[in-house]
């Protein structure tokens, strides 16, 4: 198995408060990792660090065998290979759905517009939103916006995807559609993914591995099934109980 991402001894503090402490893990190609843990445990900070949106004080991130030198320029190049979807969707309100999707591929990757549009349509079809390419984000529901946000990230042909609580602001009936898309990505496309979520059933279904975080530390790094059925630490046990799992 090829290692896509490796994190070693990552430390981050914010205004002298430690947020992440000695984080170590790696992800193989095609692997799906879920980050679980109580709120404030550092899950979102960790996943944002992996996309260069948060700075870190020490440690290394290695991507495809190459150590990342953390500066703006390098992260900007890397982000084309790392797709990220956020809790608040954050489609660009001034652009149509299609323009949201093709902005990165045409402007950043300088790919031909026709090719990108064709690809975008194929992706839109996959998420059942082909009819909405000329709509503006304001005309879409939360679930639809989030599906478009996933398409926007996929259009860049990322090598792996980061999902940060992508269903947390959605109405319950919208959640399933979004989760199904992520599951298809795992099952059919073999996408490498890191997922921060509070949906325990979903996490159990997709996770090859679970990283359990508390107070900025990784307390458990275990295969998915094992984590849910036999958590090793009492903290994780309590956490699963508190989530009614």
């Amino acid at each position: 198995m090829t290692e896509v991402l490796k994190v070693e001894h990552l430390d981050k503090s914010y205004q002298k408060q430690p947020v992440l402490h000695d984080i170590n893990f790696s992800i193989a190609k095609g692997e799906v990792v879920t980050l679980l843990g109580p709120s404030g445990s550092g899950k979102s900070t960790l996943i944002r660090t992996l996309n260069g949106l948060e700075k870190y004080q020490s440690g290394t991130i290695t991507f495809n065998g190459k150590k990342v030198v953390p500066n703006d320029k390098n992260w900007q190049t890397l982000r084309q290979k790392i797709g990220m979807v956020f809790q608040s969707y954050d489609l660009f309100p001034n652009l149509t759905v299609m323009d949201n999707i093709i902005l990165g591929p045409t402007k950043v990757q300088k790919r031909a517009k026709e090719e990108v549009i064709a690809q975008a349509r194929a992706l839109l079809k996959k998420v059942d939103l082909l009819d909405y390419e000329d709509s503006y984000p304001r005309q879409l529901s939360g679930g639809q916006k989030q599906r478009i946000a996933i398409v926007r990230a996929l259009a860049l042909h990322p090598e792996f995807m980061l999902f940060d609580e992508v269903t947390a602001s959605l109405d319950p009936e919208m959640v399933r559609g979004v989760l199904n898309i992520i599951r298809d990505l795992a099952d059919q496309d073999d996408m490498t993914m890191i997922i921060v979520t509070h949906e325990m059933d979903f996490a159990k279904q997709v996770a090859d591995r679970v990283l359990f975080l508390q107070d900025g530390k990784i307390l458990e790094d275990t295969p998915g099934n094992q984590f849910f059925d036999h958590p090793q630490t009492t903290r994780a046990k309590e956490f699963l109980e508190s989530m009614n799992f």
């Binding site: 982000r79 990220m84 954050d90 309100p93 001034n94 652009l95 902005l103 950043v108 990230a153």
Partner: protein, 219 residues
Amino acid sequence: MNWEIIKQSLPMFQKGFELTLYLSLVGIIGSIIVGLASSLIKYFKIPVLQRIVAIYVEISRNTPLLIQLFFLYYAFPAIGIKISAQLCGIIGLIFLGGSYMASGFTGGFNGVKKNQIESGKAIGLNNWQLARYVVFPQGFALSVPALAANIIFLIKETSIFTVIAIPELTNTAMDLIGLYYNSNEYLFVLVIAYAIILIPLSIILTFLEKRVRYGTFGN
């Protein structure tokens, strides 16, 4: 109120009206150019220029237009620089308005949500692309209310031009009062004249604000 007096004064007020409009227009366009340039320098943190802009903005925002005009019109000739009254007025208005417009634009750029910038970064946009496709389109829309308020403000500030005897609206009224003493009539026309400019303009600007806001953000 003597309507005959009002009627006789109208041609003179018309000249003042036109001059007020002309000076306002030139001043506003100039202010927008200076303000936009200043805010871009600030946004891209261009070295040296950024410092100059910061100093300019502080001086301009914290001193009265009247003193700025006196300086240009009365003090500069003492050191050998002579500028016509109208040009002084325009320079003064742009000097003042430029910093107000700069603050308006900068406020708009800063108002763009952090999430929007992050999702721009997440699709790999570089700084310039982020500015071009995310920050500027949304930032301009956010700055429209401030720009509209500045436009109204600058038009009203032209009334201060009367102190260097530019024959705009206020100066016209003051001249007429000085000559004929009919203060009620002339002040009445003066207020109406400003109302004719400012009421429709502020309605149009409010409408425009809503259009731009809806066009960009959908609410």
